[in-house]
Assembly symmetry: D3
């Protein structure tokens, strides 16, 4: 018998029904979640501002601990907190960034693994700034797009530029692996700049033709921050995103990359961005994204010997 509890549509929607905390409060957990409902830096279809709440609601179908068909328990004993959302200004990018970095730092001081719910991809820059003290930081980025552009439509802070801003700002950010690249159009200057820094640019065609080789090429024994842009996944899997690109990751392929990353490295942070729940009336986009986060956490905590 399963213990009585709220059905998924019942109860206040904190992430996996975790206690609600203040970022600067006195608490300590294994995992803490922070939302960054900011989407004015994207250039096409808005809605990522609604993602943190949608992910919290969807997470209520994936509340740990989990028991698999094999009877193994996952995330047993792992503790969670929901630190709410960053209080955002209406418009000012630099103020948004300052507040986001501050809140992310507070999380890092209080939990083992902070999980960030975007928001468009521009939020990854202020999030990464909270990891300025991590030695030799690596980023593993699932994404259809490079997001390494210097300036787009007169703006340095758009969702095309977070990693460019990050490498400019963070000397400790030594390497980025971007997996899932595809599409007709790349910014040549951005590609050149990424290559000049020896970033690993892995096109989606590589994932489809030889996934084991891609998994082999991932970082090992590194401090890794994982950034999941949901447009890395195929639009048939995640229709709710601003800029869908065909021929993306299946859920299983994405999980293979995330699991390999988690199992062979020290994951210091995780974000999921560019989910636009308003663009998918079937509701499956947020349900699958919430599960993707939880399954990644399983891998992280199993790799770290927890459980």
């Amino acid at each position: 018998m399963i213990t009585p509890a709220h059905l998924p549509y019942g109860g206040i929607a904190t992430f996996v029904r975790a206690p609600l905390v203040e970022p600067q409060g006195s608490w300590r957990t294994d995992v803490a979640v922070l939302g960054v409902p900011y989407d004015i830096a994207l250039g096409f279809r808005p809605g990522a501002r609604f993602a943190p709440r949608a992910l919290r609601e969807a997470s209520l179908r994936s509340v740990p601990p989990f028991t698999g068909l094999d009877g193994q328990t996952r995330l047993g004993g792992v503790t969670f907190a929901d630190a709410g959302d960053v209080v955002l200004p209406s418009l000012e990018p630099e103020l948004m960034q300052a507040r986001t970095t501050t809140a992310a730092q507070a999380l890092r001081e209080r939990c083992t693994l902070p999980v960030f719910l975007g928001g468009d991809h521009s939020v990854t820059f202020p999030l990464l700034r909270a990891f300025a003290d991590v030695p030799e930081l690596h980023v593993v980025q699932l994404d259809a797009h490079l997001d390494f552009t210097d300036v787009r439509n007169d703006t340095r802070w758009s969702n095309s530029s977070p990693f460019r801003r990050a490498v400019e700002t963070l000397p400790n950010l030594v390497h980025i692996t971007t997996i899932g690249l595809r599409g007709l159009r790349f910014d040549p200057e951005a590609v050149a700049a990424a290559r000049a820094r020896s970033h690993s640019l892995i096109p989606m065609t590589d994932v489809q033709s030889d996934l084991p080789a891609v998994l082999q090429s991932l970082p090992r024994d590194r401090n890794v921050y994982i950034s999941v842009d949901v447009d890395g996944l195929d639009p048939s899997v995640i229709p709710g995103t601003s800029s869908p690109e065909p021929d993306g990751f299946t859920y299983a392929q994405a999980m293979a990359v995330l699991a390999a990353t988690a199992r062979h490295n020290r994951v210091v942070g995780l974000d999921l961005v560019e989910l636009a729940p308003n663009l998918d009336p079937t509701g499956r986009s947020e349900l699958l994204c919430a599960r993707l986060i939880m399954e990644t956490l399983c891998e992280v905590f199993e790799a770290s010997g927890h459980e």
Copy 2:
């Protein structure tokens, strides 16, 4: 300057950002909110189970205190708590009722005015049971339908029967005023039973032809429980409901009835039911319902001398 705070789509969605409490916890406020996400007792289009969360989200555009164009402050100093949702079973009506009554009683012991977020209209029966000790209880019901049927489709617990069950159970429930009745089809036995108890059955045509007379006919100086079935309002105003009926209340007409009720009586409880957010992709149904609740609270607390 307005103090920085979350934009409406930011932060955890408790009702008007009130602290989250346990129904049985140790707290004390003027207003406390309880959700009852139960909709399996309705007979047409489901979705009212999603209403408590939708109302919480929508309430974030109506966080008190309010200052009107005239500079008067409303709900200043009135305190709020959000007691979450009743933990519901999947199917068993009587277990649902027991838990709902228990939670509602806990609220009554801890606040001046409990506000209940349905759910379909069947939840009003267990809610009213929590008021069994109120002397000479009156109900004012805004509704297109009578909801006084004995049995419908083999069931005594459907959303057509809450008030029938209530009068059978609660000797102190002395009178019901139902306003907004309309439609081609009434259950003759139910009408006769209500008339036999001298209930006031006010058709919507009366509201439209002579609203002042309707307002005059409302209870005065009574202990009143207000039950707002959102299908009392016109479907163009609130499209998100299971069983829309044309020619209903405008928002202003509904507020006139609610204000007159609040100002001339002691309001002991309030529910809003039959909102189905999934049936209105424009989102205005929950936004207007949340405001209707807040504006009714303004009237209640101004009548009680608060503020």
Copy 3:
């Protein structure tokens, strides 16, 4: 107690659960319903092809007999049949018209009042042809548009022309009263032609400023065919239509016109056209239209001494 029966979403959707008959079969009822799921003659947003089925489904919330709040029974003893839909060709307008006229004639021979479910307004021309033998036929048309244009976009059979084709073809069609006219744009030739035939062209502003006078001006003691174009109603009441025009009929105003027409004339046929259920995800458009039909039938059969 209400007798057990299907909930509205249960059971095969014939109109008001009437027996399914063949137009040419051997049956005899008071009312028979025929669908004409044809919408390729409209010039803007398609979807009226889906209306007959949507109206059948919606009618299941309005199955007669009805008992009002006053205890009076309506449509008691009135019998119904559902003759299904006309079998339509893909494209050929004249073949569509021939089949529609034939089916409508079959209905007229077997029932007192045939009810036709469009389709776009072009179907009214072949429907009216089935009434070629009615002496001094009058039409009462609720509509935002005149629909009396000779040729539109190179076509004589569009939904702008049904009444023009009808008066050319039917010598017995002596008069048309069009109520609800509004909008910035009229076809001057069509207006002139209608005025030359002394049609009554009643703008919506007349309905709003003096409804009693409009009701007085309706035909009396005539053989009347009623044609309800749902864009006559306000778009907030019936959003599901190809070409919405603001400031239209409320449900109550439309019913006042229909009731006055029914009570003072011999209604020989009724159609409801231009409902596009696909354009209204709230579902209220078809629910209100089904009720409008049923309430009009109440008026017709009460006027005829039935019940």
Copy 4:
């Protein structure tokens, strides 16, 4: 030339335009269809109540007989009846079950292969009760979930428990093969109970890694009842379902399992459950499900030597 007939959106929507019959009437066909529009036993997003009608409408694009590209005719001469829907109570699970079992028994007496259109998966329990006389009954279940839980949220009748209730009640139900299992969370007690009964629990990963082996492991020469929970399929294929799980069956994979089951066994009954048309505004969920049913019937009747 294709014979004139209704376009798919025309005519009354019985399943594949079959004659409408009463379950207890005097008729005899190869196939008969019964709807069970019941969804209050599910624990997440309602809408399966709308599935029987949606499947009937969608079936009108798949009316047999079929002629393939190879010129072979399928389902030629196979006769169909549509027995409508079970008349359901509003709430009482045991009354729903009694009526459903009775209607299903009536179908079994009158047709070779009854096809049941759910509803949520809880309806499979009363449906299976109608097969209590079948010797050594096997079930082949396509499903993401085990649905073998004893009690969930205080209820023994939820859509998580149909097969648990069935094995408790039906001594002749000797074996269940469940294919497509996946997800983070299983009820350990349910898994243990199923394994104790030697049920075949086949995870979706087996289907993806070695479909031929899965097909080999299916029952042979048995009396088989097939239960298709549409959440077995991938959410990108069937978005319209309450609880989508990623990495499910493609249509072709599902058909491979169904065809292998049909070709090597005696199929005694078939249900399709958990389709929620309201959750998929593209309409493809019901279109594909209707076709899945028809293609499975092709396999069943070809295996039985019919045609």
Copy 5:
């Protein structure tokens, strides 16, 4: 006969099929239209960025000249140009403002009446800056909200502040009349500041209780810029807007205010803002807004003696 032309869904969507021009090009018309697809300054539900295109598409059902039921022609001989949209940066408010002012100035130099399609209401500030040379400029604003807040959520450029910024910047802006004010919450500092400048703040209740008096109170013989925030209208009329407020203008009431303004003043510019087509799947919001613009133009050009 109506001249063959594109059906409304055919052809490239320029506003009322006007020629497409560059703002700085060499052209001269009576009316010119400019889009400002900017919505990142609003604080709730985005989508106004999609309004200029939606209004262009919707305008194709309202292409002048118009002939009324009375045979009078409107907008005959009035010439139109569509100047496209301002090229906007991704994020920088002041750069957006500079480009918008520049483009609006270019329009003013080339046409009699520029019409601006927002965008959220923040765009009205840079638009008004293009009228810095108009002597004694008056603004008539239809709006549920005052939009005169100094700072909101740390931002001076939000859609709550356009008129505050305008009066600070434009000495010639002598008076603002705001009509339709309603809601529970006003910014007291903003109200005080507007009253200190003797702005006319007309609540919606005044419109409903005595429209003729409101019309009398409008400016006369002034240079007037009209700003229509579509949330001034009732949400049942225009559901497609970020922040709906109940009890707003009907279409007829809004047109009465706009007509009275146009007929008694010199209208120098017009904007329509806060339309969010993505929030209204019925499509009627943009259709009614396009017509509102065209009908206002009729009034302006008839008042100016044109036609």
Copy 6:
């Protein structure tokens, strides 16, 4: 840095922001686009009339030239024009065809590669008539359906018949290769007629089992017209189509066929039909179709030595 330009939702939506031209005007480009917003010849769910505009809007995310991850530029120097839409009558198929053929001929005279945006598949017949002078014309058709039926529902002009009409009319149309065929139902007469003409009928199962063999079987060194019916693609990839069929092309499979066709032949024309944007609220259908067109153009112009 990417040059400032409109964000995808800004500016007038011509195809890839190409200059707007009249079909009969004096211009000359490499590529010209013509819309045919006609969908009344389809037999199920309308909406293809909205496709030309939707494709234009979607194309604004795919404006050439493109630079790939490998730094190669595609479509550099290739010039584009947008010739708008054919002016269509409301109903008359033969008039539609005449105008479409005329406009297509005008395009052919002025550009190297005309691209046609349907509309339902019936438009391909009049489009092909504009290629009557091409020696030994081959057609490569991606499609789930054969579209070679003689008469359907009494009509010779439906979207099931374009290629039948074409081979009857065009002696130079020597061969058709149809790829992606699937479904339960084929018109035996149509299959026989196509086989009698030695058309290549390639079922989707061949694509899935041996794509290289399919690519080998395509025409080589021919004059080829490519017709892409979007229901050839899988419904999870392109949900927005009238008649979805499961197990269709992935985007990559479709591109493999299109690329192989383009690289080994002389492509004389291209159409994309049966896209119904109204059936896919996620918007991805048109986004992927626009990209499919652009990527095909890359292949065509690279094959021709351009760029």
